[in-house]
């Protein structure tokens, strides 16, 4: 049964919505290197923003890595995502310093403003909300990070304002 299921998925690859040739150079680069599994997955995620199912099969076929091992690694590390994400990933820091400075209030305010829960993506695919362990900006707690930008010394209102500004910018 199991073999059959994989075969079916292989057929689906042909009508895949993602362009699988994008990861060809990546596979070429890491193909025969030892310890290549994590860098390949990281590279794939850089290309698509997440790890599409089809890429697993393609990588497995071309490198000989086992599907089970790839799935094991992809679900072990928090960095990897199996679902598409929004254009902006809002990372609200929940490190110790942020926690004692009420990071929960920041998360709740952003959740209310976007209408999504932690880990979810808005319907328009604009925002994904994530709570993260520590961004290392503890002296400026509480903080959140959107893209490469870190926002410091937040309050719930401040955080919502930042998110709303991005929304307005995007709708124009």
């Amino acid at each position: 049964m199991r073999v059959k299921r994989i075969l079916q998925e292989k057929e689906a690859v042909i009508q895949s919505s993602v362009d699988l040739t994008l990861i060809d150079p990546l596979i070429e680069k890491y193909k025969n290197k030892k310890g290549n599994l994590i860098p390949i997955l990281q590279g794939t995620q850089d290309v698509y923003g997440y790890l599409p199912k089809e890429t697993f099969i393609k990588i497995s076929e071309q490198t000989g890595l086992k599907l089970s091992e790839m799935y094991g690694v992809a679900t072990f590390y928090t960095q990897f995502r199996l679902n598409p994400v929004g254009r902006y990933i809002v990372k609200v820091c929940h490190g110790t310093a942020c926690h004692v400075q009420n990071a929960t209030a920041i998360s709740e305010a952003v959740e209310d403003a976007l209408g999504i829960k932690d880990g979810e993506t808005t319907e328009d695919r604009l925002f994904t909300l994530e709570s993260v362990a520590c961004l290392g900006c503890c002296s400026l707690a509480p903080v959140m990070m959107i893209g490469d930008e870190t926002y410091a010394k937040l309050t719930g209102n401040k955080a919502v304002k930042i998110v709303k500004e991005i929304k307005i910018k995007e709708s124009n």
Binding site: A97, A133, G136, L140
Partner: protein
């Protein structure tokens, strides 16, 4: 006449506070005016609470300006840089006069952080000008033997700065004694402790010091390849490390026949972590480098015998490596003269939480925790009462106020039930609930448990359930005892450091703050007024103006009262959401 130097602190925290804008502003002004100054970037200056920071060094002395925005940058440019007139209002530190922030620097000894905030981390020449790559040169030119290098490290008394506290020299000797065709040296930069950022500061501020430490280590133990395992959440650190490695390779400090010494080959690369706290454990880290799930392996064999790819390997922390060039250049005595009998040298701490002067500090071992918090740290914010300090992150514990005179030293800190850890120091005041803190850390370790050992995987989950219950007012008689029982079982039956130490935050808070647990369980009260479900909201009739804002915002319509009349909260309908409290403009909602 020497050119005036202007340094802008561009580490992650500075950038978060807006230092990039300040730098760009100064750059634009300089170009527009064609002013002949030396404008440069630098790493973390340490005074995170005064970010963004700009330091001006001219022929009269040095002036550190704090909390600079674009407007203030223009003022400094016009007055100080163009006319030599110091803008004293913004100066937070100067070598010419006293300032109110001097206490932050008094008592600090900078060894690991010697170049942070001083040099441009993206320029190898600046590192070389500050005694950089001289230690390795001295070793190679003086033909100092590997044994001698290891002996110097051993004599300096340096112990692992990642938290374990194992003597570094001994680790090196084990790796040296195991002969093999290939050996590895690894730098652990997977700083996963929430509330710690010492390694980030170091890597962003002085990457070459860490690289030189690795080169010296590779010479001492015969390693031919090195890996810096850095967490992916630190993009700037990774960028600067890669720049530094390229520069070092170009200059012949890395590669084949290093500095012309035939047969001394060593190269290294940065491996990005993928977000797993357990990878801070050395065997899990090696599994992760090999591309597997980061699960710890059984020891023995120890990494010094069979580590990465089955070869002898040596792992040290970022801060440990940053100290190495200094020790080798200045001798073991230069390091061991600081500290206590069993804990030598200095230690970097990330000072955060409810404290006035948050930032990174480097202090000699033996200083009391109280001195760090009240002298360097400037005391507790808003004049609140100091309650406890958390050391060692999820593996550590909370030290209460009455033990604040404990000295910073591996053994003294261990005696309290906490651990030295990698250097995160989170200060808590009277409004921090200790049960909630224990729950917070358990939530973290429960999520981060790799799942290999049953006691860690299931035990932390059970503990978390009990703690969550307690903070929600559903604690039961016997919960504390059950927590303790689970804690000791997890400690005894877990393979790696994560599981063995995960219960520490719970055990120390029970030890020192048992009354808070009891208040939650028996009286259904949170003494710190932190756990929402345990609070009672009432209206203060003296300050209520009857504005109706609270009633309008109450999601369960639990507030009665007409306009301009004192309002009343019906406790049976209140769900303790706190909305009225946050909306009231007259402080008329009382928590109890």
């Amino acid at each position: 006449m020497k050119k005036t130097k202007v340094l802008v602190g561009l580490a992650s925290c500075g950038i978060a506070a807006g230092a990039n804008k300040v730098y760009n502003k100064l750059k634009a002004l300089q170009e527009a005016d064609k002013l002949d100054i030396d404008l440069k970037i630098t790493g973390c200056i340490g005074m995170c609470y005064r970010e963004p920071l700009v330091e001006v060094i001219d022929e009269t002395g040095s002036y550190l300006y704090g909390e600079i925005d674009e407007e203030k940058a223009v003022e400094i440019f016009d007055k100080h840089l163009k006319q030599g007139e110091i803008v004293k209002d913004y100066v937070v530190k100067s070598d010419l006069f006293e300032s109110k922030d001097d206490s932050f620097w008094d008592g600090q000894v900078k060894i690991a952080l010697r170049n942070c905030g001083v040099i441009d981390p993206e320029n190898i020449v600046e590192y070389e000008e500050h005694d950089g790559y001289i230690a390795i040169k001295k070793i190679l030119e003086g033909k100092i033997s590997q044994e001698q290098v290891i002996k110097t490290v051993l004599d300096s008394g340096i112990r692992g700065r990642g938290g374990g506290g194992f003597p570094t020299g001994m680790k090196w000797r084990f790796a040296y004694n195991n002969k093999a065709d290939t050996k590895y040296i690894i730098c652990n930069a997977d700083e996963g402790d929430p509330g710690a950022f010492m390694d980030r500061s170091l890597l962003e501020g002085d990457p070459h010091a860490v690289i030189e430490g690795l080169i010296i280590g590779s010479y001492a133990i015969d390693a031919s390849e090195g890996v810096i395992y850095c967490r992916a959440e630190y993009p700037l650190a990774i960028k600067r490390l890669n720049i530094a490695i390229d520069q070092a390779r170009e200059k012949g400090y890395l590669g084949k026949n290093i500095m012309g010494v035939k047969g001394f080959n060593f190269d290294l690369y940065v491996k990005e972590g993928a977000g797993a706290f357990v990878c801070g454990e050395e065997t899990a880290l090696m599994a992760s480098i090999e591309g597997e799930r980061g699960m710890p392996r059984k020891r023995p064999p120890f990494p010094a015998e069979a580590g990465l790819w089955g070869k002898p390997s040596n792992i040290n922390n970022v801060e440990t490596f940053a100290n190495i060039p200094y020790i080798l250049l200045n001798g073991a005595e230069s390091f061991s003269k600081y500290g206590t009998e069993k804990s030598k040298g200095t230690k970097v701490f990330a000072l955060t939480g409810k404290i006035n002067h948050g930032g990174s500090v480097e202090v000699p071992m033996g200083i009391t925790i109280r001195d760090i918090i009240f002298k360097l740290g400037g005391g507790i914010t808003d004049g609140k009462k100091f309650k406890a300090v958390q050391l060692g992150g999820p593996s550590g514990g909370c030290i209460p106020e009455y033990l604040a005179d404990t000295i910073v030293d591996y053994d003294s800190v261990n005696a309290t039930g906490a651990i030295m850890g990698s250097g995160g120091m989170v200060v808590m005041d009277e409004t921090t609930c200790m049960v909630d803190i224990a729950r917070f850390f358990l939530d973290f370790t429960c999520k981060e448990s790799c799942g290999k050992c049953t006691f860690c995987r299931v035990g932390t989950k059970r503990m978390l359930e009990i703690l969550t219950r307690i903070t929600q007012g559903e604690g039961q008689e016997g919960d504390i005892e059950k927590l303790e029982e689970l804690a000791y079982q997890i400690k005894d039956n877990s393979l790696c450091g994560l599981g063995q130490t995960a219960p520490n935050p719970v055990l120390t808070t029970i030890k020192y703050f048992r009354h808070e647990y009891e208040a939650h369980i028996k009286d259904k009260k949170c003494p710190a007024l932190n756990c929402k479900k345990l609070l009672t909201y009432t209206v203060n009739p003296d300050t209520c103006t009857g504005c109706t804002v609270c009633a309008k915002n109450c999601p369960t319509d639990a507030i009665d009262g007409a306009r301009k009349e004192i309002h009343f909260i019906r406790q049976d309908a209140c769900i303790q959401c706190g909305m009225c409290f946050s909306k009231c403009k007259f402080d008329a909602i009382i928590l109890s």
